[in-house]
């Protein structure tokens, strides 16, 4: 599994970058090392949405990517305490009332709570708000859910204030993250669970082989999808590599009708 960490602020990212020894990839503007990636989205819904889309588009394959949003949030008093890390189980966008629900499947020992994403920061105390408050989660979820399944969207929030902070510069955000680094690293290990990834039936070699041939012979999108599915069925039933199809691809194709005939010949072979 590859873990993509998103934070809104550089101050939230730095302790994680240091702990994981991530290195900046200047082309993608992503910090990375091995299968760990970190991107900074900026503050607020609009910035976050654009950046999430950009980052996710930079991955060629997303079947093994888990998005982990880590950041500070306002917490309701007296049910949360400063520095406490909470797993978010429900996100409401205050402006639209839209609800987003991450699918929490993996065992963890954090408290859970809902969260409201607001447009402007709440500074007059939690009052009637009985959940966390932040400024990005809803838009991150909304965009990311087009790319990733809901069990691979995880939101961790660290309570930084009781929604009464007038001056953000007074918060020691790196310290709030550092206090929870041990837990964050343990959770990253839990989320590396390969069962959470999309199942790959064909080997990378077979996928590459088939992709190349599909392109060469100019199969249609529908034909290509069906071919991959039939190839998977064949592989599960026989355990044989797809290079066995090489002889079919030796044919020269000049016309659409020849391509379609070849497609049917291969499908027939794969289904026997």
């Amino acid at each position: 599994m590859r873990i993509l960490i998103l934070t809104a602020l550089k101050a939230e990212a730095e302790p994680i970058i240091n702990a994981l020894k991530l290195v900046k990839n200047k082309t993608r503007q992503i910090y990375e090392k091995d299968n760990l990636f970190l991107a900074i989205t900026g503050v607020g819904s609009i910035k976050a949405a654009g950046r999430v889309e950009q980052v996710l588009n930079s991955f060629v394959y997303l079947g093994d990517v888990l998005l982990l949003n880590i950041g500070i949030a306002g917490g309701p008093q007296p049910i949360t305490s400063i520095g406490e890390m909470i797993m978010v189980n429900k996100i409401i966008k205050a402006k639209s009332g839209n609800i987003y629900l991450p699918d929490i499947l993996i065992k963890h020992d954090l408290p859970e709570m809902g969260l409201v994403t607001v447009e402007d920061s709440v500074v007059n105390g939690s009052g009637d708000i009985h959940c966390l408050v932040d400024m990005e989660s809803a838009s991150i979820f909304k965009v990311a859910a087009d790319y990733l399944p809901v069990h691979r969207l995880v939101f961790l929030k660290i309570v930084s204030d009781y929604m009464n902070c007038q001056d953000w510069t007074t918060l020691d955000i790196p310290e709030l993250i550092r206090m929870n680094l041990g837990k964050i690293l343990s959770l990253i290990e839990l989320f590396r669970n390969p069962m959470l990834a999309e199942r790959k039936i064909l080997t990378s070699r077979d996928i590459e082989f088939l992709k190349r041939k599909v392109k060469e012979k100019r199969f249609s999108v529908t034909q290509s999808l069906k071919l991959f599915e039939s190839a998977e069925d064949y592989y599960i039933r026989t355990g044989k590599q797809l290079t066995i199809l090489e002889r079919f691809f030796k044919q020269n194709i000049n016309y659409k009708c020849e391509r379609n005939r070849l497609y049917h010949e291969i499908c027939q072979f794969l289904s026997t």
Partner: protein, 342 residues
């Protein structure tokens, strides 16, 4: 090496629809699962119908959703279900999804989620069934109602005694035959109920080899047979269901041994009838499951499409029918054996 289950236990989370929060059943369950995380929701569909859920992963950590069912409460049975000759064949869904996870189950193609939905407004279901009995199309025949079609109600009995509630309802209702289908070994919660003649308890049985490979989380054959035996001894009408018969190398040999085991444990004379069928599924459900690349090999085999149904080629269906008829007629008369006709 000891394997570690990294998934949260079933019902680690209870999602409760706003409308459901005042029902007594909701209060009971919230009390019972007080250690679970409670998440209030507006409509159960916001969690159950979310996009991009993974049914099979969710089966490893099922969540319970409590909701209020809106009409329709009762549905006409499809051609995939065996109607046992009843033309007024309907089903209801007091519970969606199942504690078990059989490879061949259509639920994984029917629903976007592996989580369970319990509808807490049972009285609305009773009223709807009462209405349907009055308005049934073939008034000379009773209404045949499957209450365990999209779930296994008896397996859930220790959590919510819905089977008992439906049996009680049936006891007081004329022109109703109730079918409760199960793979459960749990008969104890029903043991102290006086048998009701218009209730049919149906046990699906399979060879242990099939159970081990394809019927995840279900009780062993031996345990199921004990439950069936208790039901028969208690005076209940019992149907056995060998459906689907799974074809694999040497399946005939295993099914001969299996049927011998079944009829050694149960007196064939005491069984009301038997239904036999092969793997079959609405083709849309089948393709939806296949798309998720399940681990079960069932979805990578070759099937024929007959109308809307993906099933075995007709020659294989015929082979199963002839084989099962031949073996079963050594135990009970042919007229007691019903086959699903593809």
């Amino acid at each position: 090496m000891k394997s570690v289950n990294s998934f949260l236990p079933n019902f680690s989370h209870l999602y409760v629809e706003e409308n459901a929060s005042d029902y007594p059943l909701t209060h009971e369950l919230l009390k019972r699962y007080s250690n679970s995380v409670f998440v209030p929701i507006k409509d159960y569909k916001t969690v159950f119908n979310r996009g991009k859920q993974n049914f099979q992963l969710q089966k490893r950590s099922m969540k319970l959703i409590l909701a209020v069912k809106k009409p329709p409460f009762i549905y006409h049975a499809s051609s995939v279900q065996q109607n046992s000759g009843f033309r007024n064949h309907y089903y209801i869904t007091p519970l969606i999804n199942c504690l078990y996870n059989c490879d061949y189950c259509f639920l994984q193609g029917m629903y976007p989620s592996g989580n369970m939905v319990l509808f807490v407004n049972s009285n609305d279901f009773f009223s709807a069934v009462g209405d349907k009995i009055q308005k049934r199309s073939f008034s000379s025949e009773p209404l045949f109602l499957s209450v365990s079609y999209n779930t296994d109600l008896i397996a859930f009995e220790n959590i919510v005694p819905l089977s008992r509630a439906w049996i009680d309802y049936c006891k007081q209702t004329e022109d109703l035959i109730l079918e409760i289908r199960t793979k459960s070994a749990l008969f104890q919660p029903l043991e102290n109920i006086t048998p009701v003649q218009n209730v049919l308890l149906v046990w699906t049985l399979s060879p242990q080899k099939v159970i081990d490979v394809h019927e995840n989380n279900t009780p062993t054959l031996e345990r199921r047979l004990k439950a069936v035996w208790k039901a028969i001894a208690g005076g209940w009408n019992v149907r056995l269901c060998f459906d689907p018969v799974i074809i694999y190398e040497n399946w005939q040999r295993d099914y001969v041994i299996f049927l011998k085991q079944v009829f050694a444990a149960l007196a064939a004379d005491n069984i009301k009838d038997i239904t036999v069928g092969v793997f079959r599924m609405n083709k849309g459900f089948f393709h939806r499951i296949r798309k998720q690349k399940p681990l079960s090999k069932i979805y990578y085999s070759r099937y024929e499409i007959y109308g809307d149904i993906a099933t075995l080629p007709s020659e294989e269906q015929k082979m199963v029918r002839e084989f099962m008829a031949e073996v079963l007629t050594t135990y009970l008369p042919r007229e007691k054996i019903l086959f699903w006709d593809g």
